[in-house]
Symmetry: C2
């Protein structure tokens, strides 16, 4: 039932069988059909969510009603609204399934207990965060110094499997570029 998640864990850290059981004991599986929501803006996010199957998008809507996709989370990725989680505050993000998906949920309190009980897991999470930090940092940099074309090229290089699974205008949204511009960028650079 939680096989994908357990495999993931075991591939990242060394855990005893007991620890595995501790983890399993607090996991809950949530199935989502395409277009269903894992989180809606305004609700408080109280979980850690591991995508064991499918694909979800995390996005935010600005004052003018424009959607801005922050992240695609395919299998073996995490999703959530960290700000809402940390501050027990209404979420500003929405999380929507783009494919039928299965999500492993661990409630906040349980999660914190796990981190305390399994030091290797704590350290692993810290490393995950460090890598996320570097990725985000790079994204800020690219946002300020790359052209639309460079952003797109970087994206397909970093996430080669995503383009075939999500509509193009969502990639545009992720990149902070209009769908029309992305279309033009693609068609002009292909002209080999």
């Amino acid at each position: 039932m939680f096989d994908n998640f357990i495999n993931y864990l075991q591939s990242k850290i060394t855990v005893t069988d007991e620890e595995i059981e501790m983890v399993k004991a607090v996991c809950r599986l949530k199935k989502l059909r395409r277009k269903q929501y894992l989180l809606q803006e305004g609700d408080v996010w109280r979980y850690n969510a591991f995508v064991s199957k499918g694909l979800v998008r995390t996005y935010r809507v600005d004052d003018k009603g424009q959607e801005h996709i922050f992240q695609f989370s395919p299998e073996d990725w995490w999703a959530g609204d960290r700000y809402s989680y940390l501050n027990d505050t209404p979420a500003q993000f929405n999380i929507e399934a783009l494919e039928d998906s299965e999500i492993v949920l661990i409630a906040k309190g349980d999660y914190e207990n796990l981190l305390e009980a399994i030091p290797a897991y704590n350290t692993f999470v810290r490393m995950l965060l460090e890598r996320s930090f570097v990725r985000l940092q790079n994204r800020v940099y690219m946002g300020n110094s790359y052209t639309a074309e460079e952003k797109y090229n970087d994206f397909i290089k970093a996430y080669p499997d995503i383009p075939s699974r999500v509509p193009q205008h969502m990639i545009a949204s992720y990149l902070g570029v209009s769908p029309e511009t992305l279309s033009r960028v693609r068609n002009h650079s292909v002209k080999k």
Copy 2:
């Protein structure tokens, strides 16, 4: 000698006197004069650096020779090149003192030992990272959806003490806006 840093630590987590001694034992103080560098692009970054006095900027230079400031670190902030640190890779960032500064350095290996020996510290660092993540996430969002003026207003609200300590064109660089545009934004919105 490391008073500022120790005070900082004690204000964040509960530590025993022994633990304080452990920390002190691996700290090194580095003094920088204005315009001196803590890190130069190309060198490998092997420390955790706490700014106990002064102010440093972390920036990156793009292909066209343009500087992009990633962060200002005044007293009680950290600075470094996390990617270089994690991967033992030549740094892409430069860190320069904008004022005469004092930096507390902890070498990578020592730092990791500390985290392992002091669980509360480990958890605290994880929380720091989580907050940094949220900040960066928000910066990506603002980069894609805010006007130059909104970016500036957000900046002075988030970091009200910085503008009086750094030249305006550096704030422009941080915001990903040209110095001319920032100047215009400021002068037009002030016309109350």
